[in-house]
């Protein structure tokens, strides 16, 4: 121990120094706010709104009053993530494995270009596409009368897939891009059908991208607020909307904090279950590959 060289000590100091910004960042922007939220969640609403110190579990006891918000979020967020996955995978696969250089570039640009316009404006545009003068009008021409899309769960789902698809495409694309094509040839040389090759070679190897993409989309969706507000007309109400209302309309910070803590806990549990399941799957396919 005492024999640690000066060089090692300097290295350790340098590491600490380099980690300082990250540590501060986490401390100031994550740990501290989260602590404040936790403390607030045991407090009371002040007479004019806001927070007043107390120790009560009343806020947590009130959580069932927002049950619909939780069930909406917990249905539509996983469903939206799954739809994004199902739609993104073939596209990412085509981009990474099949497409030629020029087509690939063109398609990648098409995926990126929408980011140049504000998400708010693009979502607002969907109000008109899904409203009575948009898609329902077209459907009316071919005989489907009185179809309502705007302000329904379907509209919210369309908005979710539209908005979050690129976040799913890129991680999957990156993991498929690194795929060694010789493995596919080997599999087929050894008599594997295309389906078997896909299930036992391609899919397991793209699993990291798939997991990253799903987590990225799922975590953001759990806090989603804009899409349900604009395309759901407050009729498809997420926990994010409940939080906005509690802080900006009711000015009930303690209850809002309790809802936020509940959301964080639910999210952590869901992610833990998901990662455990994926981990098991990965171990299983690794052995089967060997």
């Amino acid at each position: 121990m005492a024999a640690r060289s000066a060089l090692e000590r300097r290295g350790a100091r340098l590491t600490a120094l380099l980690l300082l910004p990250t540590t501060l960042w986490f401390l100031v922007l994550l740990i501290m706010p989260l602590t404040v939220v936790l403390v607030f969640s045991f407090g009371e609403r002040a007479p004019f709104g806001g927070y007043q110190a107390a120790f009560t579990l009343e806020q947590y006891a009130n959580l069932p009053a927002r049950l619909t918000a939780f069930t909406n979020t917990l249905t539509l967020a996983p469903l939206g993530t799954f739809l994004c996955l199902v739609i993104a995978y073939p596209l990412a696969y085509y981009l990474a494995v099949k497409a030629g250089a020029r087509v690939k570039l063109l398609l990648l640009i098409l995926v990126i270009v929408p980011f140049w316009t504000s998400f708010l404006i693009r979502t607002y545009a969907w109000i008109f596409i899904l409203g009575g003068g948009g898609i329902p009008r077209l459907l009316d021409f071919i005989g489907f009368e009185d179809v309502r899309i705007i302000n329904t769960p379907l509209a919210v789902l369309i908005g979710i897939v539209y908005g979050y698809l690129p976040l799913m495409i890129f991680p999957i694309y990156v993991s498929l891009e690194k795929l060694d094509k010789r493995l596919l040839e080997a599999s087929s040389d050894l008599g594997g059908t295309p389906l078997r090759t896909f299930l036992q070679v391609t899919l397991p190897l793209s699993l990291p991208g798939l997991v990253t993409g799903s987590l990225l989309v799922f975590i953001l969706l759990m806090g989603e607020y804009l899409i349900p507000a604009l395309l759901g007309g407050c009729k498809v109400y997420f926990v994010g909307n409940a939080l906005v209302d509690l802080f900006l309309q009711s000015r009930n910070w303690p209850f809002g904090s309790a809802v936020a803590i509940a959301l964080v806990v639910i999210m952590l549990v869901a992610i833990a279950i998901y990662l455990a399941a994926v981990g098991r799957e990965r171990t299983r396919s690794d052995t089967s590959l060997v």
Partner: protein, 388 residues
């Protein structure tokens, strides 16, 4: 800068050089306006515009900063006026639009808004003052505010404890708009409004995302006061709201787009939106419930935290000028409590029944009460209704 009244004309190259220096921050705005002659040009222009260059308006040519930030409501200003203010003073007008007084209050309570001017509604002002969020107004800096020119009941809420904290912007009513091509039955009361919502107009009705009007008009269904905070009466209103929720098209204070596209056929609405919709689509009527409802007045106030105080005063005084004010009213259709402004309006506006409803419709209307803003039960019922 110079002892000549007008600086020598400068050539384009010199102008661009000065502009670059100004953009880079090497020289102040005042210096830039001085050497280029733009400052004088602005002042001359201001004095040439009738009604704006009167004596005592030092602000027209003085340096009030580069921006003024206002928190207001949707469809509630004349863009030409705001542009003219920018042209005259160099201060850019930044606009934040809100759907409810609660949200404005919440943002101001949280701090860091950067707002210089805010447009609160009558019933909220005493709470803002109690929370120490507004500054008392220095009326000497608002020469266009002449108290005697205003309808008294619309300016009273601006004064708290003998001090003026807010000067009047507009007044109006809260009724509902109804598309008569789609709904032909008699709908003349809040009773029929909610009944039709759950009947013929199902899935085509919008209500405000705003506790005061949505809960208030649900209370009117039972004949209770618009301002009730009685738990029993509020429970009835909540039941009606939750029963009606599956029949609503949306809960939003931005109802014009949906009424125009006819996705929605009926919506709780304010005077000016009623007028704007009726003007463009005559089949849309604006109706006041015969049981009553809300009568309101909006104000201009300056938050304690206003970063551009000079600009705030200049902007409010500019907007209180009767000629500017009349141009505001002509566009948004909300009546002004200022008799000088009303005198400048065209006949077709001053005789418009949407802007100036008949006395028997106005009489049962109530001003919103301060207690509704802070009552935790009303806030929670609105939130439960939305999350139901």
């Amino acid at each position: 800068m110079s002892d000549k009244k007008f600086p020598d004309a400068i050539d384009a190259k010199e102008f661009m050089y000065q502009l670059r220096r100004y953009q880079k921050g090497s020289v102040s705005r005042r210096h830039f306006l001085g050497v280029t002659g733009l400052g004088v040009a602005t002042a001359v222009m201001a004095s040439a515009v009738p009604g704006l260059g009167r004596s005592g308006k030092a602000w027209a040519a003085s340096d009030i900063g580069d921006r003024v930030s206002i928190a207001t409501w949707p469809n509630y200003y004349n863009p030409e006026n705001y542009e003219q203010f920018t042209k005259m003073t160099g201060a850019d007008v930044r606009i934040s639009v809100f759907g409810s007084n609660e949200e404005m209050l919440a943002k101001l309570q949280a701090g860091g808004t950067g707002w210089d001017v805010i447009v609160p509604t009558n019933y909220t002002i005493s709470t803002y003052v109690e929370l120490d969020l507004f500054q008392p107004l220095d009326l000497a800096r608002l020469p266009n505010f002449e108290e005697s020119a205003y309808i008294a009941r619309f300016i009273e809420p601006g004064t708290v404890g003998g001090k003026v904290y807010a000067v009047p912007k507009n007044w109006g009513t809260t009724g509902f708009v109804i598309n008569r091509d789609k709904l032909t039955m008699t709908v003349d009361s809040w009773k029929t409004f909610w009944d039709v919502t759950r009947g013929e107009a199902s899935s085509r009705v919008m209500v405000h995302d705003y506790q005061l009007t949505t809960i208030g008009n649900a209370l009117k269904y039972f004949g209770y006061s618009f301002n009730s905070v009685d738990p029993g009466e509020l429970a009835d209103a909540e039941k009606l709201l939750i029963d009606s929720k599956p029949h609503l098209f949306a809960i939003s204070s931005d109802y014009q787009p949906s009424m125009r596209s006819t996705d929605a056929w009926m919506s709780i609405a304010w005077t000016g939106d009623g007028l704007q919709l009726h003007r463009d689509m005559p089949q849309i009527d604006y109706v006041l419930g015969k049981e009553g409802g809300e009568l309101w007045s909006d104000f201009y106030a300056i938050p304690k935290s206003a970063p551009h105080l000079d600009a705030a005063y200049a902007f409010i005084d500019f907007l209180l000028d009767p000629e500017v004010n009349a141009k505001e009213v002509a566009v948004h259709g909300y009546p002004s409590p200022d008799n000088r402004t009303t005198a400048l309006l065209p006949e077709e506006m001053t005789s418009d029944p949407i802007m100036y409803p008949a006395k028997e419709l106005l009489d049962p209307l109530e001003f919103g009460a301060a207690v509704t803003l802070t009552d935790p039960l009303r806030a929670e019922i609105m939130a439960r209704f939305k999350s139901a």
